[in-house]
Structures are given as structure tokens and as C-alpha cells.
């Protein structure tokens, strides 16, 4: 099993969810996140007042999939979240040892 964590633009969330469902993946967890990568902070002016903008709103997705679904899921995310501009986000993939469904104690891929 593989855990996929993706940091994406908030505006791409609906499209990414649709793409994942189309790829056969339905269970995801979504977090509201803030951060910056190579996009650095800057200052904005609003009607004479100054506001610092150093963290940008992002959405973080977490999903755990079977090994064979990993590439499909990653491709689905990239296909819709990519604009080619700075700030499109990142995807991290890591191995998961166990999954347990709390309701009935099912274990392994069946619990996904």
C-alpha cells in the first residue's frame, strides 16, 4: 500500500477529486493548508494599507491506495493540477505497512 500526499492549488480541488473518482479512487482526506515553496512572500497594498503575504492558501490531500493503483492516482492528480506555473504544488509518496478498518477490524488492502 502507498500513501499519496499532494499539495495543490485550492482551485484545483474539485477537478482533482473528479479525476481520482474517475480513476477508481474514492477515499481521500482533505486539509486546508498554508505554506510556500519557491514562491516567496511579498507585500500587498490595499487602499493605502500594507499587508504581508508570506503564506499562500493550499489544499493538502491524503489518500492510501494499493500498490498497483499508485501510478494511476498520481497521474490523475498531475493531469488536472498542473498549469505549468510556480505554485502548482507537490506530490509525496510513501509506503504504508498496515490499514485497519475500525468498524470491523478488517486489515490490509481490503480496509482501504
Amino acid at each position: 500500500m502507498q500513501k499519496i500526499e499532494a499539495i495543490i492549488q485550492p482551485s484545483k480541488l474539485d477537478a482533482v477529486k473528479d479525476a481520482l473518482v474517475e480513476a477508481g479512487i474514492s477515499g481521500i482526506t482533505i486539509f486546508e493548508a498554508r505554506g510556500h515553496g519557491r514562491q516567496k512572500g511579498h507585500t500587498e497594498f490595499y487602499r493605502g494599507r500594507e499587508y504581508a503575504v508570506d503564506l499562500l492558501p493550499k489544499v493538502k490531500l491524503e489518500l492510501v491506495v494499493s500498490d498497483e493503483m499508485k501510478d494511476k492516482a498520481v497521474d490523475a492528480i498531475i493531469s488536472v493540477a498542473r498549469t505549468g506555473r510556480i505554485g502548482d504544488g507537490k506530490i509525496f509518496v510513501s509506503r504504508v505497512d498496515e490499514a485497519i478498518r475500525i468498524r470491523n477490524d478488517e486489515r490490509g488492502e481490503i480496509a482501504l
Partner: protein, 916 residues
Amino acid sequence: MSGVTARGAYERRMAEIRGLFESNGDGLRATAARSALVDEFVLRFWSEELQADTSLGKGVAVCAIGGYGRGQLFPCSDVDLLFCVEKGMEKPAKEPIRRLSQSLWDCGLQVSPATRTPGDCERLDEDNPEFALSLLDVRRLGGDAALFSRLQDKSLAKLRSRDGRAIGEALARLTRERHAKFGDTLFHLEPNIKDSPGGLRDVNASHWLHELRSGKRLILPDGVEKGRSPQPLMHVDHLPGDRIEGGELRDAVAFLSAVRCFLHYRHERDDNILDWEAQDAAARQRIGLTGRAGSGVDAAYWMRVYFRHARVIEKRLLREAESSGLQVETPASVKRLRGSNETGFRIKAGVLELEQVSPRGLDVALEPEIVLSAFRAMAESGACLAHSAEDRIVAAIPLLSANLEEGPGLWRRLAAILTGRQAGHALRAMHSLGVLELILPEFHGIDALVIRDAYHRYTVDEHTFVLIDTLHGMAAEPAVERGKSRGRDADKGGTREPQQEMEAWRVRFGAILAELQNPALLFLAALLHDTGKGRVGESHATESARLARSVLQRLEMDAYDSSQVLRLIEMHLEMSAAIRRDIFDAETVRAFAGRVQTHELLRMLTLFTYADITAVHPDALTPWKAESLWRLYMATANQLDRSVDEERVHTRVSVGGTGFWRKDEKIARVLALLPGREMEMEHFLEGFPERYVSTRSAETMLQHFEMAQRFDEDPFQMTFHHGATQSGSVVNEVTLVTPDRPRLFAGMTAALAAWGMNVVTADAFANQAGVVVDTFRFTDTFHTLELNESERERFLSSLRDLVAGRTSVEKLLSSRRRPRRRSPRVPVETRIEFDETASTHSTLLQVITQDVPGLLRAISATLSDLGFNVEVALVDTEGETAIDVFYLTLQGRRLTAEQEKELRTALLAAIEKNSR
């Protein structure tokens, strides 16, 4: 009896009780039957103990307490037992009590046994007031009768007489804490029918308060020992109140008892949440409704029945608390009003009471003006309405309705209620008494309406009141910050506790509230924004706007204000939709700014969105959403000032080379008002900034067109509108339609300054043909126009003389009364900015400075003196900050760097001179 046999027998009997409930739907009977059944088992096991040890016959009384003591055991409720023992009997009784409890557990009963001597029960344990409360319903099941009498007549009598007040206070506190967990409202989409306000616990609380106050003890049957089966005992039997009220309460308790039995059977545990699936099933099975034979009912209808009953219970509790001098609601801080004795009512100790007879000799409750003033006083002070006043208003509703006059007077009264800091409190009272529906029948459709989605927590009407509460709460002073050293500024987000971060956002958004020109419009839009949810239609925002239109007509609100309210309602979802898009994308911002068009609407929409999201659910507005909303607000505000000159009206646009022409929907509407003269109208509109079209109604544009047709008679066409008084200030409006000429804008501002008028907002637009439409909205510093109607004509002709050059600015200004200068509360530093990228043919000048009288005149006179032409002007005020934007040209060209430098120096000097 063996454990297995006992459990089998208990389950069989429980199945019979369930069968009976499923056939007759009588929850009260089912709870009494279960209580009797448990009595039987408790006594059977106790008699087994007695047989084994006859010495237990004296010195131990077996009692039921709490709900079981009242003879009401819901299918999965715990069984609370009290073993009242003589001093010295604790030890010998310990093992038999353990065995009895074990036997009951083996039958599947959740037993909570407590062993106490009568002396233990004499005092209130402040850490456990719940036990003292459960003792108020004690009932003997068996055992030592003399000991029980002593417990009852001496110990508990002592507890009541000595600690009765403290128990009452503890009960009030527990009730407040419990209600607070539910946001102090009974209008939840998935209510807990036991614990939420208006739930079964409130029935018991009413009863206990009554008993503690009156000293009257509820006499319960003496268990099955005497061979009598206990009757269902409802607390309502012992509560005061007239027959109708008592009947309503009885029905409410019967309904909720049936629902709780239904939920226990459905969930197979003591789970009292009435979730959506349970609501559907209960409605299908007509749970709690009379005439169970009929077919199922609609879930929304069934929930309204539930809310009606819960309201009865809540009302009963509030009245009982009032009689006991206790507060079961989180107390609103009651503000003392100046002149608290107004005509027709008075406020004493936080309670508003109506007088009997009005100055006109009528019952005060029949006078709409007095009744609405009373609600205004509640909104301003947070005072509660006395229950006798509530009854009188309810009884007076039909006649109040006949006496109610609509129009501007009603709007003034409603606006005064809406802008009171405790408006939500007053509106809830008006809603529950039927006064709100009397003024706004449109509100009836969302009364206790449950609309299901994954986010909302409250019914539609309650969501509306929470939204209004939230808006008022935004104006509150910032909470004292704790742990400041750990925190970071809201700009930077990140390391703060979410609660502190949200408080910082509240304060930041709250500052926008102080900048609104007419907050009552925002509150009216808030009140009406979801009324469309009660109707079937394309979208609720459109339906709500449709309903609001008829409200605005009845209130005879002026065209500008009406359009603000309608646009807010129509657009109330757009900002939350926009923050889901890419708010850093210029196109998203441009498109949104194109929809909003004015700073005032943007401010109101931003506040509305903040409060609307907050009112959905206490956790719905996260720092993340607040930040996105703020960014969109800032970006849009910047965009609004920088795009006006570029985006111009073209009445005919070619579409993709197909040869078709399309017209903007708004333009099509204006043209429809002038059949046969469409071409002339198109010519008039051509070349105006798009903001002109999107901020004016079709009727207003038609009026401007007609004014432009009368240039032959008088080239200086002017309209004046005397605004209604709102929150103590009047905003007037004057519009000038005239062929363009130099110094027009400067002339108008000078004339307004000479008359002591303070410009709040202004805009100046011109079309391709050089027709200028300048609109100024201003307050009247000396109340000249308000006090003397004859002065209005003199004022207008003086404006006309000045722009026509028939009189000089100097002459007018020499007669000018200089208003007294207040020192600024928030000093604003002057900033002058130029932007060459905002327009292809003009230079944008933005002046941000302290708003003082005469400022606009000083700026525009400087511009004229240096020969600059004002292509577009947008004048705005935010609190004490003036933000004036001008698109300038000099001899048809953009400004050079040298000209900008010269202008900056001249403006700084003029602003400085004016501020002295």
C-alpha cells in the same frame, strides 16, 4: 431465579412493551410500563436477598431516583437506584446490593446504584448537584418504610429548606451550560431531543424549579409494593398555567416521549440525536402524531411539529425560571438606555414591560409603533420581554396587523431594530410571537425550516439570526490577547492558536463594518437572504431576491438603497464561490470585480460572506477561509479602482464574426423602456464606463437620458434626493447631467463645500458624446436641507449658478460657514499615488488621506487649476479615511513624470492647507 431465566423473562416483557409502542405510539405509556417492569425485577431480586438474610428487612430502603423515580424509563435509559441505609448498615448491605446490581446487569439493565444514609442526603454536595436533583424524584420501591419516611420527611425536607435556593441556582447553571453546548438554540437540523434547549431535560428542569420555589412535593405512587401499578406521571401535571398552556405542554411532552422511545428502539442505545435518517423514518411512521393510521408525512412538516413542541417546552422553562428569579439562558449584558421610560413601555432590571394604555387611550399592545419601539429597545439594550407582554402581543396580533402602516416609517423602525447590537435577540422574540411575519410575511416560509446539507447546523430562520448576531459581534472590541509573545500577526498566520487567529480575523473584518455608509441595508439583506429557501425555484438567491423586491416596494425604499439590498441578496453566494477559485489569478479577480462594481457593495458582500459562513456552523469559518476571503477582498478593491476607465459600454458587440449583435442584459432592459427610441438611448449609453451601467437601475438611466434630452431648455440638469434618516444621519444625493466643460467637478465640489455638505461618495462619468453624469452622495453638516424645505430649491439653484459660471466660487466660499474641526480619532497619513498602467489613455491618481470637510473641494480645485481633465472620478470614504480616485488627462494625453511631480506637490499643499 437463575440469571438466564431472568434475562429471558425481562427481554420477553420488553418485547411486549415495544410491540405495544409500535402499535399505539404512546411513548409515555411505554416508559411507565418499563418502569413498572424494572420495579418488579428489582423487588424480586431484593426479596431473594431478604430470604437469605432477614436482617436486611430493617434499616434498608430500596428507592428509585431520577427518571426512574418519576416512573419514566425510556427503553435504553439507565436505572438509578438509591439504597437508603441506616448508619451502621452500610457494611452488611454492601454484598446484597452488589448481588442485586449484578443480577440486574445480567438481565441487560444499566444500573447505577448509590448507597447513602439519610444524613448523607441532607446536604447539597456542590460538586454533584445532579444527585440532589435526582433525590427530588425519589420513590420507594421496597424495604424499610419507616426509614424511607424519615428520609423523605426529615432529611430531604431539610435539604429543600436549607439548600433549596442553592440547588435552584446549580440547576440554572447546569441548564445554562447545557444550552450553551447547543449554541443556546433549539433550532438544530439534527437536535438532541433530550439535552438540547426545548428537550426533555428542560421539562424536568421546569418541574424542579417549580417544586423548589413552591415547596410542593410531587407525590408519587408507592411502587408495586402496595399492589398498584404506577401510572405514567408527567411533570406537567403539577405545573401551573392555564388549561391551554397546560394542554400544549402535555402534548409536547407526549410527543417528545414518543420520539425518544422511537430513537432508543431504532439506535438500540440511549442515543437521543434526531438525525436525518431518523427524521425520515419518524415522519414515515407518524411518530408522535395523532391519528397514526394515516399515511406518512413529509419530514420537513414533521420537524416543524417537533420545533413547535420544543418551543412550548422552552417557553415553559423560561417562565418557570423568571418566576424563580433565576437565569437559565446565558445572560445578555443588558445595556442601560438613556431615557429607559419611553412612551408605552419601561425597562426594569433587564425586563421590558408594556404599559397598559397608550397616550391615545388604546391598549399599548395594539399600537404597532409602540410595539416596534419596544423591540428596538430590546435590540439596543438586550432586555428581555416580560412574559405578560409576550401574551398581550400574541393576543393582539390580528388587530396589530390591521393597524400596521407600511412605507418609510416602517423601514425606519425595522432599520432601528436591525442595527441594534442585540438585534438577533429582538428578532427571535419577534419571530416567536409572530410579529416578524406580520411585517415580513415572506419570512414565514423559512420558519423552523430544515434544509439538509452536509454543513448547516441550524434551521434556516435560526441561521439568519445567527448571521445577524455574527455581524454585530464583529463590531465588538478585540478580546484581550493572551500569549501574545507566542502569536504572530494575522497577516502571517501559522503559529497562533486557531481561536486567537480567528479573533484577529474578526477584528480585521470588523473594521470594515465601521466603514459602511448605511449598515441597515446589510442587515436587511441578511434578514431576507434565505427566504427563497422556502420556495421551489431556480436558485434560492434568485427566489430570495424576488421576495425581497416586494418587501422593498412595501417599505418604499429609495432606488439606490433597494438596488444595494437586492444585489447583496442575489450575489450572496458569489464570494464564497470565488474563494474556491484561484484568487491569485488576475482573471478571477477581474471577473469578480466586474460583478461587484462598487466598494460599498464589496464591503457589504465581504462582511456578509464572513458572517454567512460563520453562521452555518461554529467551525465553518477557518483561518484558511478567512484569509482567502480577505485576499479576494483586497485584490478586488484594488481592481475596482484600476479598471474603470478601460471598461466602457459598447451597446453593440460583434460575436465571433457570426454577424450577430448582442446587447448586455441590463442595456436591453433600458432599451425596452423606450420603444421606438432605442437608437437614441444606445447613443446615450455608448462610451460610459461599464460601472455606470452596472451601478444604476434601468429606470435611473432612463431618467438621465431624459435629462440629456432637455439640454435645450437648460444645459445643467439636476436631480436632488433627500435621503431617509438612518442611524442618525441623512445621506442626500444630487445628480448633475450636463455637456462636459472644464471645472465642472471642481465647481460642484466647491458649491457643496460652501453649503457645508460633506461628500461621502461621488462618481463622475462621461459618455462618448461628452455628456457628463456626476453623482454626489453627501451628509448635511448643518441640517440645512433637513430643517428648511425651502432651502432645497435655493441650494439647487446655487449649484446650477455655480456650474454655469453665473456666480463665482470665491463669492460662495466667502459666505461659507466653516464646520468645527474634530481632531481625528484615527490619524491617516496622506498618500498620493499615480498609476500609468490602469488605463491606456489616462493616468490614475489615488489620494488617500484624512477625511475632513472641504477635502474633495481642495483636491478638485487643485486639479482644475493645473488644467487637468477629470475623465472619471470615484470618491469614497472608509471611516475616517478618504480614498479618492481620478482618471486624469491633460489636453487629451496621459500625464508626464514632470506633471505628476508638480501635481503631487500642489495636492500635498492643498490638503495641508485645508486641514488647518
